[in-house]
Assembly symmetry: C2
Homo-oligomer: 629 residues x 2
């Protein structure tokens, strides 16, 4: 089974198409301007000798430009534009020019510490930045067919491969990312050395003595030992958890440390297992998946609750106001979930992918495309606002590359079938039964509606299974094939599989029930005790004080049993389905001067309105809550 690449999918719907258009027309230019004004682009020109001056910004700023190149490349393919293409080519030219004669490419080390390459793999992110260069190169090649950046990437990958490996220098990235990038690079080049190096990085990790332990002994380490010790020691002893270097991947059962790093590692491990069938890795990934989805996942698809380590803490520790839930971490979860689906074929992975996509990741960007969240809390007492950029700007280009490439998460294919994983209006070009082309067209107003019309157009009549993902949350659905009711038995993988010979213009009507659901958290999630969240389809809802101005916002409660209704409002937040109902709120005035009362205070009836979580903080930095009483 393989994903359909973003190049084989078009999107033409009311939900994602406008977001992709904004991404193309607003976000990508906005982020290029940010990269320009913050010196990120100039760093490449300086390293290339094209301009004078010192390195500017944080030592891993190259990666933001690489991610922007990746995002812009996807966008050029979906939204061609000659002017932007020349902007992109200009940036790529500077990146390429900064490559050193031996293939090395990293503007910080080239400009600041040229003699100290590869001496601080734990902190200084040379391999991480290389990974993002590789991903950009692959995307640019796939989107445009141009090989300029791909050649740059391969020369650098060859250099890295010549240095690190089983019989060479011991090395590992402190921040994972290069592993999955090398797999992608191997995919487009056919170069097995790249996937072998990825496998080395994935499987060498967590063995002792670690390269990180050795680097801790270097008093002259670039970047200094203090930061290194902060992340890699506890009580003076080496501790690898922060970078998932505490155990070999095959032994890992708990998601630990920096969440983005964890997601990127698990994604690469799934890539490796997909190629090798290594059951020890597959079993470890299942255990890690169970750990995160059963004990460490926000209802929004956010992961990594703590700002302290930008990552994981303990089972069921999911605070709302202080939730870190980095945008990049939800994006990384999408990467991992997609690979777990390819590995195991089960819909439960795509269910989580969908949750993260529509909520914890999408919340990371404003509706106008120029405001970003690094953290995605599930409640705010007010004062949280979106920024147009960050000093550490990993998230803005990450969400841009995700939005530009979501088509690749919608479908999968194999010789035996086509999988429809995301319900998004548009088309997909699949190939089944060896070489039979099939166009699949979706017409749907999902996620506002659960009705999906799928038209199957094979170039010639062909027998295969059309596999429709039925979300586990969905208690009721109906399927009609060419108007006739079809069985609604899902298979063990969670799909409704329609096995038949398909002819041109065959239609499938899928109707997923989209009730408003009250969601209850496990009782060990302390902050959500006595509370619930609202969900409809893939969308988690939240309440903002701007819609719910009565009384003390924190006391907002939905009346038990009172009906909740949906209403699509095209006028607000770019058009959303609101959830409305009757609730109660407490009024501080009823307390007078009392801090405590011993008679039950009156609840004030009030109309309540919830909006999709992804759309919060687009109307000022007010109070917000996902979990209400």
């Amino acid at each position: 089974m393989r994903s359909l690449p973003f190049t084989a999918v078009t999107i033409n719907d009311r939900f994602w198409a406008p977001r992709q258009q904004t991404n193309s027309e607003v976000t990508i230019p906005h982020e290029l301007a940010q990269c320009q004004t913050t010196g990120r682009i100039d760093n490449f020109a300086k390293a290339a000798g094209l301009m004078s001056g010192e390195f500017e910004g944080i030592f891993f700023n190259d990666s933001d430009v690489h991610k922007w190149v990746e995002a812009a490349s996807y966008t050029l393919q979906t939204h061609p534009n000659p002017e932007w293409e020349s902007d992109l080519d200009a940036v790529i030219a500077k990146i390429a020019a900064s490559q050193q004669p031996d293939g090395y490419l990293n503007t910080y080390f080239t400009l600041v510490a040229p003699t100290k390459r590869w001496q601080n793999l734990g902190i200084m992110h040379e391999l991480y930045c290389a990974g993002h260069l590789f991903e950009a190169a692959v995307a640019h090649y796939q989107a445009t067919g141009k090989s300029k950046l791909l050649d740059v990437a391969c020369r650098f990958a060859d250099l890295i491969d010549s240095i690190f490996g089983p019989d060479k220098q011991d090395g590992l990235p402190g921040h994972e990312g290069i592993e999955l990038a090398l797999v992608k690079l191997a995919g487009v080049t056919g170069e097995a050395r790249y996937s072998a190096l990825a496998e080395y990085f994935v499987t060498r990790r967590g063995h002792s003595p670690s390269v990180f332990e050795k680097e801790l002994e270097n008093p002259d380490i670039p970047g200094g030992l203090d930061a290194y010790r902060h992340h890699f020691t506890r009580d003076g002893n080496f501790e690898g958890h922060y970078a998932q270097a505490h155990l070999p991947i095959q032994k890992q059962t708990e998601c630990v440390g920096h969440a983005v790093r964890a997601m990127y590692l698990y994604s690469a491990a799934a890539d490796i297992a997909y190629q090798t069938g290594d059951t020890a890795i597959i079993n470890a990934l299942e255990a890690l998946w169970r750990n995160v989805t059963e004990k460490r996942l926000y209802v929004t698809g956010g992961v990594g609750p703590s700002g302290h380590n930008e990552g994981f803490t303990n089972d069921y520790e999911l605070p709302n106001v202080s939730a870190y839930a980095e945008t990049c971490a939800s994006i990384g979860l999408i990467f991992w979930a997609q690979r777990m689906f390819l590995l195991k074929g089960a819909s439960r992975f795509v269910d989580v992918l969908e949750t993260a996509l529509y909520n914890g990741a999408l919340s990371g960007i404003s509706l106008d495309g120029t405001g970003f969240f690094y953290q995605n809390p599930l409640a705010s007492h007010g004062g949280r606002h979106r920024d147009e950029w960050f000093g550490c700007a990993c998230c803005p280009p990450n969400i841009a590359r995700l939005l530009a490439s979501i088509g690749q998460y919608a479908y999968a294919e194999s010789d035996e079938g086509v999988w429809v994983n995301l319900y998004i209006g548009g088309t997909a070009d699949a190939t089944v039964a060896g070489d039979v082309s099939v166009k699949v067209t979706q017409e749907t107003d999902y996620p506002w509606s659960g009705d999906v019309k799928i038209t199957v157009d094979p170039e010639t009549p062909v027998t295969f299974g059309l596999n429709l993902r039925i979300p586990a949350r969905c208690d009721a659905f109906e399927v009609r094939v060419n108007g006739a009711v079809h069985t609604s038995e899902t298979n063990a993988n969670g799909y409704l599989s329609i096995q038949r010979q398909w002819h041109v213009k065959d239609t499938v009507h899928l109707t997923l029930a989209m009730p408003i659901e009250r969601v209850y958290a496990h009782p060990l999630v302390k902050e959500n005790l006595g509370r619930y969240a609202l969900r409809r389809g893939p969308l988690v809802y939240c309440f903002e004080d701007v819609d719910n101005p009565d009384g003390v916002f924190q006391t907002l409660s939905l009346v038990e049993g009172a009906p909740l209704e949906t209403a699509f409002d095209s006028e607000i937040l770019g058009g959303v389905t609101l959830i409305r109902g009757t609730g109660t709120v407490l009024d501080a005035a009823d307390w007078g001067h009392n801090l405590y009362l011993h008679s039950k205070p009156d609840l004030k009836r009030t109309d309540v309105t919830a909006i999709p979580y992804y759309a919060w903080c687009n109307r000022g930095a007010g109070q917000m809550a996902v979990w209400v009483l």
Copy 2:
């Protein structure tokens, strides 16, 4: 109006008498042993030249010994014991011997930094330790009539008075305490200079430039500038809030900074206002009182939620698990409340005193008298345990001196009347109408019962008002005088005043309703939303997992409307009235492997049992909650 001193009150009941006995027989000897083994007593011997060796422990450890002397003195008066008296005399002899020829007394500075006296008033606690010496001396003199320690105190007070004051050196204690001690010293000696010095310390505080700002400019300050800056600067600029030195007392309206310091300052300010009638100070104290009782007070009478500054934060910020609520701070609140009562004559101050006494202060000591809490959280996830002592051991001798002297909070007198503020079985010797002695005898099982029999025995028939405090929380009560129902109209000060000519063996029967109350917190107290606490009489209740083992403890909920019942159980926790009822709990097993469910989970019915908060953590370090769903 004046309090009846502890020497005029005996206690003979089922609640406090055993605690005083344990205090006398167990806690006082235990704490002496701790002071001995930790070098606290030896420090005095070393400073006196009676033994060799270096200063041991923290620089303000003298104050723990002084507080122990105060506690032991009270106890000797209530529980005479020749052996302990000689122990006390031996300690006092060492303290006295450590006094320097000029009257100075502080073992840290005498042993470690004799040339650096009074150079770090902000941090090094010389004046604070002096204050506790003065309080000890006053208590010892009152309890035993011996003047040895009082003479020592006066010589030191004279030295301090010769150094600091309006026309002398500018000085203030960083940690308040000496102010109220000087007022006490003036009270027993009649020396007006001492109360004048107290007034200087109270009213000089908060004026600019502050002595603390000047000390910040001394690079050679004993103790070092770092600690000083930590407490007294923000962003590099002087900030006096930590020690209530941000504004003159007359301008203060919000309780800020270190809670114990605040309580001691406000207590002294009330003492000064009592003497001078200064309306600006009285108005400020009223504002501060309203601030703490309306916005910053735990339902247990704890104050100061934050461990960061050991003190106050923001209005309505009253976290439960992380509540600092230092034992000493609740004790300080009792001191302040008592003085506010004397200043204003209103029962509302004593209501708060009673709450702090029976809950937030009393929780600071174990039932066996040898285990202490420094912090008094309102919830625990387990693992909190009592210690037999602390490195910074302010709380253990503080609770010991409180327990030994609670008689002084029970009654007040004036020419016109007697006030019964606390319902405690025992006797009080008051004087009314100039010189008529009246013995008041209480028989009661309070706080387990609301029935109080009061016998009034004047030496000769005399007309005065017997003023019974009716707690504001009490919605129903009945009073009978010699069997006849009396009006139950309380006066503006919250007292039921029985004005009549009293004869020997006149009896008053007061019956206070003692229902189980559900208490609701103000809606801006975020942690208590949707929760309530149980209270009965002055006692706040809590739940411990040892009594409530079913399901997930955190989900414990009382069934709305289900009856709650009381049951006295003499077998557990020294004999307590339990509250029992029917509740619900969630069972983690019902969640299976799910982190989120979208059908409402079944609640499991369970019997629930609550115990008085003061008695928690006497059966292991389990989970506890005051506020339940």
